[in-house]
Amino acid sequence: MKPWRDPGLWLSLLVTAAIGLWPAVAANKPYAREMMFTVLMSVGLASSLNIMQGYTGYVNFGHIIFFGLGGYVGFYLLSVYHAPLYVAALAGALTAALVAFLLGKAILRLRGAYFALATIGINEAARSFVKNFDPFGGPTGMTLKFHVYQAYGGANQALWITYIALVVLTLLIILVSYLVKTSKFGLGLMAIRENEDAAEVMGIVAPDAKTWAYVLSAVFPGIIGVLFFFKNGNIEPGDAFRLQQSIEVIVMVMLGGQGLVFGPLVGAAVYQRLRGYLLVSPLFKNIQLAVAGLLLLIIILFVPAGLIGWLRGRFPRLRRWLV
């Protein structure tokens, strides 16, 4: 089927666009923009992680590494060289791609839990490296001088530009996720997920396919990191490499349904809304990771296919829409 004839693709793009356009019609626009920035960022992180975890079957606790490294490199260019945002974003993407490529060569030969453990180790290693790397400001990180925003017509305008860039990027991520899933490359990845040895016997060059999947899934958090920290105005190791954030992204993918295009999108949106309610309560604020863990346990035990996967199984007629 041609992509533009697939109602499933359109539904995913429309939902993303609807989230993105919400601040335009909301009463308190800056507030809505901040809220939807978080949601879109999660959608992008979850959908890109899904390429590795959902399509290829490699659980990755280190997705945020690319968010952090991309963010740092982009931020460095923004603050030290006053590079334009798109140059910084491109640099973030390239950094993430390069790191994923090299990392992939080293750790993608590990399977299952061993790969997952290695990704945790690398997150910690990246954090301590940046903490001790003086050009990036060491443990205190970096802060953008206010005049950097002047080039974008002031801080307020800069925030809107960043937001629009994120909306476009998220739409692109959804499109890429769909194109990968429905391509020959994607079929190879899913064969690897189901049975890597059998996939190789069929002629799938698993080491290469996995490396490219890893690179592709890393590029997007690399860009998102640049947008996020540009919006924030400062970056520090603790914010850039939070293992907790990696875990939350995994929960989002599982919650919505891994291996689907629509799944991580719904999972990210639902999780962020849920988190929004919980954060208001001081009790939950302190135990949000425990809540995420509990949620993960419930999903694995009772709805391993996730919300969208469950709907697809329960109502086969919906499959056309829920790809």
Binding site: S183, G188, A191, E194, D197, A199, V201, M202, G203, V205
Partner: protein, 253 residues
């Protein structure tokens, strides 16, 4: 090497720790033939397949395929050279549909088809092995006999020059065996060379042009099915039953 030898196995040996799984196995397979491989459980038959297609490279010896030394190649490289195999223990891609399983076979083999063409080939092959009606089911939902057909379909979809079949008849009932034997013969008639491991003796004797017997990793006999059935060493390897030859040929073993 003469042009019509598609596979040459030369002095191949393979050890697993202290166990000599294959010792000094040597044979030629002429293009277009069916070569049967028999031997008691644990004789090293599957290990020989693994040594040929690169799952476990042999410690000694060489494997030549279409005149090319493929010893130690990775399985995907061997597949891309036009050699396909099935697994004794079926390896379906459970969460993909039957069609997608077979498409993967067509996509990534030596012909390297795009998805559209792979879908056409997959539909032809599914028709051929009798799984067409189940094309949209998940592979994990098939029963064992159907999974065996799926293994075969996936391998066939790559349009291999050489097909290694590892006990595709095991666990099938007599009617299914008869059907599958016809399928194997048709594949040969399409010009595919076949190396087949089988425990269902009469079926193997009926389809094979020649037969090799392995016992404890050693090649103890080679010849036409009749020669093998009357070979005293083979009879000894199979529990020393003197009436074995007659039984084999009558289809009672």
């Amino acid at each position: 090497m003469s042009a019509d030898i598609i596979l040459r196995v030369e002095n191949v040996s393979k050890r697993f720790g202290g166990l000599q799984a294959l010792s000094d196995v040597t044979f030629d397979l002429p293009r277009g033939q069916i070569l049967g491989l028999i031997g008691p459980n644990g004789a090293g038959k599957t290990t020989l397949f693994n040594a040929i297609n690169g799952i476990y490279p042999p410690e000694e010896g060489r494997v030549l395929f279409n005149g090319q030394d493929i010893t130690g190649w990775k399985p995907y490289r061997v597949a891309k050279a036009g050699l396909a195999r099935t697994h004794q223990i079926v390896q379906p891609l459970n969460d993909l549909t039957v069609l997608e399983n077979v498409m993967a076979g067509a996509c990534f083999g030596h012909e390297n088809h795009p998805l559209g063409r792979a879908r056409e080939i997959a539909d032809e092959v599914l028709e051929f092995v009798g799984l067409a009606e189940r094309r949209d089911l998940l592979a994990g939902s098939l029963n064992v006999a159907q999974k065996k057909r799926l293994e075969l379909a996936r391998a066939l979809a790559s349009h291999p020059y050489l097909l290694l079949l590892d006990e595709v008849l095991a666990g099938l009932n007599p009617a299914e065996i008869a059907e599958m034997v016809q399928v194997v013969l048709k594949i040969r008639d399409q010009g595919v060379t076949i190396l087949i491991i089988e425990h269902v003796m009469h079926a193997l004797m009926n389809v094979s042009d020649r037969v090799i017997v392995l016992d404890y990793g050693k090649q103890i006999a080679e010849g036409t099915p009749e020669e093998i059935a009357n070979n005293p060493r083979v009879i000894e390897a199979y529990l020393g039953d003197p009436k074995l030859a007659e039984k084999m040929l009558r289809g009672e073993v």
